[in-house]
């Protein structure tokens, strides 16, 4: 003789198991869908730091205090594409073909605290910075 309670218990257990499987599938589906949607969104919109378009982070010199005729190198650390560099000094001479780094020296009439300016430009605009170099006799 079959136990009616046991039969009902087994039936309930089976139903609960199938519900649990459905729930698991549902959760996995929701998770996958949300992951898919979020990934797709990320591919469409690239968030860029505006300074990456054009930025002049710093100008650094190998030495900031020199004597007459001593040569130093001055480098502009800039970010952006298609950059053009323009250098200007109130006193002293410079040379350099690649423009990112220039050679600086000064003759006797350039003794003093001199200003060197670098202007970096591209299609987004112009940024500039200066560095001071002391030329001693």
């Amino acid at each position: 003789m079959k136990n009616p309670f046991k039969k009902a218990f087994l039936k309930h257990k089976k139903a609960t198991k199938s519900k649990s499987i459905v729930l698991k599938f549902f959760i996995i589906f929701i998770f996958s869908a949300s992951l898919f949607v979020s990934c797709k969104k990320e591919n469409n919109t690239i968030i860029v730091d505006p300074t990456d378009n054009l930025a002049l982070d710093s100008i650094r010199a190998t030495k900031k205090s020199i004597i007459v005729w001593e040569e130093i190198y001055i480098t502009a650390y800039a970010r952006g594409k298609n950059l053009t560099f323009n250098w200007k000094a109130n006193h002293g001479s410079m040379s350099g073909k690649d423009s990112v780094t220039v050679k600086y020296w000064a003759c006797p009439s350039c003794v003093g605290l001199n200003t060197i300016e670098c202007k970096v430009s591209n299609e987004y605009g112009i940024v500039s910075d200066t560095i001071m170099i002391k030329v001693n006799p």
Binding site: V68, S93, C107, E117
Partner: protein, 313 residues
């Protein structure tokens, strides 16, 4: 026979001096046809010239010193000047120059660096007033005042680098000058002499972080001329030039600027037909005292063509 002797002597003088003198500086070199006289009403004189200058020696006070970094500095310069007699006593003068090149060669850490520029220099404009004029003897006393306008190139670049101020074709500054000129020719018209006193001052360049004022400039000269033959005039000119210290921001005096120089400035003028003339002149610095350490001139020469016209009826 006189001809080749005179020309040979001139060339000898030109090449035999061990000269020192002005170095490369911004703006037009002192030029013109060597004359500062006034013209009669409706008279016109045009002078076109070419000048070459080479600077090589470094000086400390009046001593030549060895600076291995500096190789040489030179320029090739063309100029045109016009004088026009507006009124019987007033003449207008104007000049404009163009640097074919202005070059400095230096050796930095055994690497040769060449910096060069070219372009239009300053525009000069003067009014000359004939204060006194006599016919016998032929003499003139002329007062003159004028301005040099920096219309030329002052932002010349090379490989994206602005060239130093001393190598820019234009001085970048307005300059004002005043002068007194006296000339006298003796009755036989073979001998003559003239004298000039000139003073020039400059305003301050104030462009961004460049603040610069050229030192005041003064020139005294005395010249004697002699008609060797009918068409050939030989002029011996003694010239003294003084230049004060340049100044930078906060009125700081730049020690290695300013000088006192004595020049011998021989000139040959050969008059051609139809009031054309050929001029050959040179600036030979015979003594120079510089403040601090400065590059000085080895020699410079100039030749030009002059045409005189008269529109008087």
């Amino acid at each position: 026979m006189k001809y080749p002797v005179v020309i040979f002597s001139f060339l000898f003088v030109l090449t035999s001096f061990k000269g020192i003198g002005q170095c490369c500086s911004a703006g037009n070199p002192v030029g013109g046809d060597g004359s500062n006289d006034g013209l009669g009403k409706n008279d016109l004189r045009i002078f076109a010239s070419y000048k070459y200058s080479l600077s090589r020696d470094y000086f400390h006070y009046d001593d030549k010193i060895d600076v291995p970094n500096m190789e040489k500095s030179y320029f090739d310069f063309n100029m045109i000047s016009v004088v026009y007699g507006l009124l019987p006593r007033i003449s207008l003068y104007s000049d404009l120059g163009y640097f074919i090149d202005k070059v400095q060669e230096v050796k930095i850490n055994n690497e040769k660096e060449i910096i060069k520029s070219h372009g239009l220099g300053d525009l000069g404009f003067n009014v000359r007033y004939i204060a006194m004029k006599t016919v016998k003897p032929v003499s003139q006393l002329v007062f003159s005042g004028g301005i040099k306008i920096p219309i030329g190139a002052f932002n010349e670049e090379m490989d994206g680098i602005t060239i130093p101020i001393s190598l820019q074709p234009s001085s970048g500054a307005f300059k004002y000058n005043a002068s007194v000129f006296y000339s006298r020719k003796y009755a036989n018209r073979k001998f003559g002499w003239n004298s000039l006193v000139l003073f020039e001052t400059s305003n301050t360049i104030n462009k961004g972080f460049l603040v610069y004022k050229y030192g005041n400039f003064c020139q005294l000269s005395f010249a004697g001329s002699y008609h060797v033959i009918e068409n050939l005039i030989l002029t011996g000119n003694l010239k003294y030039e003084w230049r004060g210290h340049d100044k930078r921001e906060s009125n700081i005096k730049i020690e290695s600027t300013g000088s006192s120089v004595f020049y011998v400035n021989p000139q040959l003028i050969y008059n051609l037909r139809h009031k054309w003339a050929i001029l050959l002149m040179t600036d030979i610095p015979v003594y120079k005292y510089v403040n601090g350490y400065q590059l000085t001139n080895k020699f410079s020469f100039q030749f030009g063509l002059r045409r005189s016209l008269s529109f008087s009826k």
